[in-house]
Symmetry: C2
Subunit: 330 residues, 2 copies
């Protein structure tokens, strides 16, 4: 078989949707099935839904996939392939790898969804060819992944890369994690939305534009509303985005000093489709970071968008099942 | 030759003193020569001083060392063994490895002094046996070193671990690096001293105890003065130490979330000999960090004290010259 004919199934399992895709060894997403996650029905039904989607992909193909890679929004035990805790799914200790493998007859690997997206951007996205990169995914929450000297960092408990919860202001606002001043509490989508809602409530005149965009319901203001208002020139929205940018600069400086990456890659909904935001962050980082740490640093927008997770999960499966590696690289 | 008979020369080259020691393969520091660094005389004289010290160690031994490891307070090109920039020595682009190797006839390796101290604590100190650790050395400045999955992180430019310059308060005080709110600008010895001097100047009554300890010269107040006054119960000094502890907690939480280490080790003059400070930091970190990242975390004082650098430099030489590794592990 030619290398380009080899493929794997990538699964991106989140609290709102499951995406199952056929991904070629070169990283091309060939076919996909997307459906809402049937969270209320429980793990067995969700697993069955995934299997149905996988079978529908297999039917259309002459060749068997190398295996299945599943990225899950939650804590994963990578060796056992067990989903330890996935709050958005309501899962605890679900043996996803074993169940999917038995039912499909294919090798399966399970990893955290942000780790999967990092594999995607590293192998096929903005980080292709890099040996030292940090991916920062700024969505509703903020997560990250780190590659150092050509290896993904997992940490002792497989929890390295909780980059949304680095402290950027030790007396800053409360975060959902219970700590204060986390990067996410400034620049995560939920934080931008909350700051906007608070600002509109406390100054309705300045908040008028945002209020209207949210159809007169200030609790409906999201980070996207703020983003649209800022692009339209609304001063309050611009202030809110400025604050998020300052936070992302401070957090990025910490990451550059901790990891000294060659590439720092921004993905996720907050910066998606806004290369000028990434450029502003980059200028701030170059200005503030130590020269030696930033000398060869490149700061780039992610390339795979929302597909990073599903492509990365498949890419990881391809890599694992063609070149089995020591457990530490899981 | 028995393994315990094997040894290397460790050199710890700083701006005020050079230390040259005989270190056994088991990490024992057997003999040492210490002398002031003749900074004004220039690199050739300093190198000659190092060679004289090395020869004096060699004369007393029947066996030849495996090699020489040199830790330098500055930026090092590890492949070439060139000291790129060492501000305290006034050195730029000094080919230390080549010169020492030619003059001594022994293999030589040069690395940054904080990296060397990390090797020391990892192989023979508080981090022995760990595969995932972060060392934070809190002295006049703050530096660090990180081991992940059994490998030291170097970063793309050999600048990983600039942990004194992670941002813990994006609108915080100016740091010597030019940025604001770095961990070092709160908890480095220079920052503690400066805060104390400012506090004494602005409130001489509260500052009376510190003022007296510094013999009536507020500019003579150092971090050590503050430490002694705090231990004696002086309220102002305690406040200053509390502020440093809070900063170290915030910085440590960031490091735990970024690297998810098994061990977080505190060395350097500010915490040296004060296990209760490390314990306070630990309690704060356990309280604030994500459960999953801190679940198996141990926070410990360093074990090798001021010898970490010289032992680590020798340990690195022993490891390198008995089991040559790929360049990436330098």
């Amino acid at each position: 078989m030619r290398r380009e004919d080899q493929w794997a199934v990538g699964v991106d399992l989140g609290g709102t949707k499951v995406e199952v895709a056929q991904v070629a060894e070169g990283g091309q997403l060939r076919r996909r099935v997307r459906r809402p996650t049937n969270v209320n029905a429980g793990p067995s039904i969700v697993k069955e839904d995934i299997l149905v989607a996988i079978r529908s992909l297999l039917e259309k193909e002459d060749t068997k996939p190398l295996g299945i890679g599943v990225g899950v929004a939650g804590q994963v035990d990578p060796k056992m392939g067990v989903v330890r805790f996935a709050p958005n799914l309501g899962w605890q200790n679900v043996p996803l790898q074993e169940d999917l493998s038995q039912a499909s007859g294919l090798p399966v690997v399970v990893l955290n969804d942000v780790r999967a997206a990092t594999w995607g951007e590293w192998l096929y996205g903005a980080g292709q060819g890099s040996h030292d990169l940090v991916c920062l995914f700024v969505g509703t929450g903020i997560g990250g992944g780190v590659v150092s000297a050509g290896r993904i960092l997992n940490g002792y408990n497989n929890s390295a890369g909780e980059l949304g919860h680095i402290t950027i202001d030790l007396s800053g606002p409360l975060c959902t994690c219970g700590n204060r001043g986390c990067l996410e509490a400034f620049a995560g989508g939920w934080a931008i939305a909350r700051q906007a809602q608070d600002a509109v409530a406390s100054d309705p005149i300045a908040g008028n534009h945002l209020f209207k965009l949210a159809n007169g319901q200030s609790t409906s203001i999201t980070a996207e509303t703020v983003s649209r208002a800022a692009q339209a020139g609304d001063p309050l929205a611009r202030q809110l985005i400025d604050r998020a940018v300052e936070a992302l600069i401070a957090g990025s400086v910490s990451l550059v000093h901790a990891f000294n990456p060659h590439h720092l890659i921004f993905g996720g909904g907050v910066t998606e489709g806004q290369p000028e935001l990434v450029e502003r962050i980059a200028q701030g980082v170059y200005r503030r970071a130590l020269k030696v740490a930033a000398a060869s640093l490149q700061i780039l927008p992610a390339k795979l968008g929302g597909d990073a997770g599903v492509i990365g999960a498949a890419a990881f499966a391809i890599r694992l099942f063609t070149h089995p590696s020591p457990a530490s690289t899981l």
